[in-house]
């Protein structure tokens, strides 16, 4: 097991290298001059002399490969650089914004799981029953409804009309009260997909022979479903949940904008608008690491759920 994890971690190095290479080249393909963009004031326009100076100071006048290697060297020393815009260390901003995203992602995930897993199982067991139909219709609605619309509806109902919850904002460092609406918005849309997947894999599993065998042994339905069927049905669902969680950790720009949640998705988009290269690079690298890490966790979880995978890796 340890060997497997180490192997995966070593694989990380070429992947991350590739990520930096691709993201760096992408920045030079998108049009727009970072110096001019950063130096444009609220009035409009930048001072041409200042733009020229900035380019030289930040090394933007050098060939791309030199810029790339300079940057690579600095990240190898653990330094993600300084934001063009605020002059503050990139890593500080990323960590504080990621903290907000992480909190929201965890609560959204809990909401999503609380809805999707039970609902998926019930729908499968009671196929074509009223509860199945309702939950499938709900799932369809959840998938189809755009997040920004759902978010605005929730704000209108729970915050503006009923006044139960705050409209938006980060409150006291992201307190629960401010987290509920954005978390529901994010959680329900990811729950919609997971419910459908849970239902279909569960249906597939309960029609398997070994489930019939378990029933024939006289095991209670609770044990049959909860122990034998669920564990097998969960494998594709876990992959999906892992992917979903990774997406949540990248931050949803739409939800973060509507609810004024200072997360990493919003940071990334703002940085792209400003062509704040060190910040964009830092965000991409950070998000890539998170994505790979979550995937690794999912793979490790597999080995627990499905011993066959564990045996394979032992060989």
């Amino acid at each position: 097991m340890l060997k497997y994890i180490i192997k995966r971690l070593i694989l990380l190095i070429p992947i991350l290298f590739l990520v930096t290479l691709i993201s760096f080249s992408l920045l030079f393909i998108i049009p727009g001059d970072p110096a001019e963009t950063i130096l444009t004031g609220p009035g409009g326009g930048a001072d041409p002399k200042a733009v020229e100076e900035f380019r030289i100071k930040m090394g933007l006048d050098k060939p791309i490969y030199i810029q790339y290697f300079t940057w690579l060297e600095s990240i190898l020393h653990g330094n993600l650089g300084y934001s063009y815009q605020s002059k503050r260390p990139v890593i500080d901003t990323i960590l504080s914004r990621f903290h907000a995203t992480l909190k929201l992602a965890i609560v959204s995930m809990i909401i999503s799981l609380m809805i999707s897993i039970p609902l998926g199982i019930i729908s499968a067991i009671k196929q074509y029953s009223a509860i199945d139909n309702v939950s499938m219709a709900g799932a369809l609605l959840g998938v189809s409804m755009p997040n920004f619309w759902q978010g605005l509806l929730l704000i209108l109902l729970f915050a503006v009309t009923l006044g139960w919850l705050p409209v938006a904002g980060y409150g006291d460092h992201g307190d629960l009260e401010h987290m509920i609406l954005p978390a529901i918005t994010l959680g329900t849309s990811s729950a919609a997909i997971t419910t459908r997947l849970m239902r279909s894999t569960m249906l597939e599993t309960i029609n398997q022979d070994y489930i019939q065998a378990a029933r024939a042994k006289g095991l209670s339905e609770r044990v049959v479903i909860g122990k034998h069927a669920l564990k097998n049905a969960l494998i594709p669902v876990v992959t999906m949940i892992g992917l979903n969680f990774a997406y949540l950790l990248d931050g949803s720009v739409v939800v973060e904008t509507i609810f004024a949640w200072p997360g990493i998705g919003l940071l990334m988009v703002e940085s792209i608008y400003l062509r704040d290269y060190p910040m964009i690079q830092g965000c991409i690298l950070f998000v890539a690491i998170i994505f790979i890490f979550v995937n690794l966790m999912v793979d490790i979880l597999y080995t627990y759920l499905d011993p066959r995978i564990r045996y394979e890796t032992k060989e």
Binding site: G32, F158, Y170
Partner: protein, 575 residues
């Protein structure tokens, strides 16, 4: 079934939390406002005396010192409030703002704008709400020679950290801007040196005669900071009516009253700014009562907010002009008559009524909004909507409908124009769309394309555009030179983008920059405004209105057209 029960249970818990969260919070009141007219003045003292004499009914607000009794002590207390000896019961306000910064250092980029809005920092001079240049931390200036300005300073000011304000602090603060490492130092490279003459006088020497010198000291990048702060990126010590309490980048900033403010008693006790990027969200927060004020509310929401009894919308013309760059290097736009024809084809009133919902702006006559003292709008004719005139000008240039298909033709093919713009400012795209329809009405095949700002900028710089709709603050420091020299002087960066060059305009601008008599400068700038209107290298569309939604309990708020000053000592909350 058990799971269903569990889920229901969890939902019940969530709803419970929501209910707990919605408990009302205590609110401050304007104690001392005995006659309940939302102002504390001598009339309130008389009113309390009347209550004591049993001529008026008792009320809660008359108990100014809040000791549970209404007596002569309250009259004295109210007098104390008026004289500034007792704290004004101004309460607190929460404001939904648009932009935020990651730092609070006014000398970094345009952070100065944002900390000034919070009332923390001040400059030597500032523009008041009518854009009149007035001394702030200075008491005045004297021009010793063409290149020497002697600025006298206030002697009664201390910074929030207790450091006295003097010439040393001014030299220190301005030198932070002039330092080569400051990304904005090139804007100030006309300054040769800043020197202390005595404790309360500094001398600024410029490289050459430069009339906007004093005006340039109103830009908040030149905010005067205490020389004794270790990290100005995270801490602040200014001279303004409010002191920084807490600052969380991208989230919020809170400030509290500066009890020793040199400008007199500060009415508000504290204020919190929340940074909310989405305009609709800002409007909802105001409607839900979560904030007392919201800047930049959506135009479509203005009526709804104004219609609520406890909310108000105030608007005022700003110095932000929306206009189109015209690519004068490209045929047939290189012909001045074609540019004038486009000017005539645009119905500005209709744009204001439709794209701006009637509230978002004022039809533009020329470059400067009328709120700006340098605007010559009263003497200018501008371009009134006139399709016949537009068509005849185009016909003069050989642009007519030769094949009878309803579309004007130029050089054998349909006359096509693309308006490029960006979406970050919500007014841009709808405005461009209305202009397109107006151009179509006279037979020009027009369309809109949107880009993000850096991309658009690059395309305009490459000359890859016909018309580009932009918004500029045309006079952030109040002086006309800033915008006109960049946009209409041959050497100006923006003039390079439109390809505009007029030697007369160059001469006038140069003369105006080196003349110190305001009347003479005014005449030069008037000539420039007339000429650029005729030459039309840029087509002016409208002046943006700032729309601020606020709770009717918020008093004393005034919109500053330069979008720089926001929180002042005169604001308070009666709720």
């Amino acid at each position: 079934m058990k799971q269903t029960i569990k889920v229901l249970g969890i939902i019940a818990v969530i709803v419970g939390i929501m209910l707990l969260a919605s408990m009302p919070t205590a609110s401050a009141k304007l104690y001392g406002d005995a006659n309940v007219d939302d102002v504390i003045d001598e009339a309130d003292m008389t009113y309390v005396e009347q209550i004591i004499a049993d001529n008026e009914e008792e009320n809660e607000l008359a108990d100014a010192n809040q000791d549970g009794e209404i007596n002569l002590l309250d009259v004295a207390y109210i007098e104390g409030i008026i004289l500034g000896d007792k704290p004004f019961p101004g309460g607190t306000i929460t404001v939904a703002m648009i932009f935020f910064k990651e730092t609070v250092d006014p000398a970094v980029g345009w952070t100065g704008w944002y900390v000034r809005k919070a009332g923390i920092y001040e400059t030597l001079f500032a523009n008041d709400e009518n854009m009149v240049l007035t001394p702030e931390l200075a008491t005045g200036y004297e021009q010793v020679s063409d290149t020497e300005w002697e600025i006298s300073l206030r002697e009664d000011v201390t910074f929030h950290d207790g450091t006295p304000f003097d010439a040393d602090a001014v030299v220190y603060s301005i030198n932070r801007v002039l330092d080569e490492s400051n990304s904005r130092h090139t804007e100030y490279d006309f300054i040769e040196s800043v020197e202390k003459k005595d404790d309360y006088t500094v001398t600024i020497t410029t490289e050459e005669a430069y009339a906007p010198t004093i005006a340039s000291l109103t830009d908040p990048v030149t905010s005067i900071v205490s020389p004794n702060v270790e990290d100005l990126g995270t801490e602040a010590a200014g001279t303004g009516p409010f002191k920084l309490v807490e600052f969380e980048p991208a989230v919020s900033m809170s400030v509290e009253r500066n009890d020793n403010y040199w400008g007199g008693p500060v009415k508000l006790e504290s204020a919190t700014f929340e940074y909310i990027t989405d305009p609709q969200t800002r409007a909802y927060m105001l409607e839900a009562g979560e904030v007392d004020m919201a800047r930049g509310i959506p135009q479509a929401e203005a009526d709804i907010i104004d219609g609520k009894s406890d909310l108000d919308v105030i608007s005022k013309e700003t110095l932000r002009t929306y206009f189109m760059y015209v690519n004068t290097k490209k045929a047939p736009l290189n012909n001045v008559k074609v540019r004038q024809a486009i000017n005539y084809a645009i119905n500005r009133e209709q744009i204001v009524e439709t794209a701006l919902e009637g509230v978002g702006g004022v039809a533009a006559k020329s470059v400067f909004p009328s709120v700006m003292p340098w605007s010559a709008n009263d003497d200018l004719e501008g371009y009134l909507h006139n399709q016949t005139e537009a068509l005849s000008l185009l016909a003069d240039c050989g642009i007519t409908d030769t094949d009878g298909d309803g579309v004007l033709d130029y050089d054998g093919s349909p006359f096509e124009l693309t308006i490029k713009t960006y979406t970050t400012r919500p007014e841009c795209k709808p405005t461009a769309e209305v202009i397109v329809e107006q151009l179509k009405e006279i037979g020009i095949k027009a369309r809109v394309e949107t880009r993000d700002i850096p991309t658009l900028r690059e395309e305009v710089a490459e000359g890859n555009y016909d018309l580009a709709l932009y918004a500029w603050g045309v006079a952030p420091i109040g002086d006309p030179d800033y915008f006109l020299s960049r946009h209409f002087e041959s050497t100006g960066n923006e003039a390079g983008l439109t390809g505009y060059s007029n030697t007369e305009v160059d001469d006038w601008l140069d003369a105006a920059r080196t003349t110190f008599d305001d009347k003479a400068r005014w005449d030069y700038y008037k000539q420039v405004q007339e000429q650029i209107l005729e030459d039309s290298p840029e087509i002016f569309v409208f002046y943006l209105n700032e729309l601020v939604g606020l709770n009717t309990c918020v008093k004393g708020y005034v919109i500053y057209p330069n979008e720089i000053t926001f929180l002042t000592k005169d604001m308070y909350n009666t709720a």
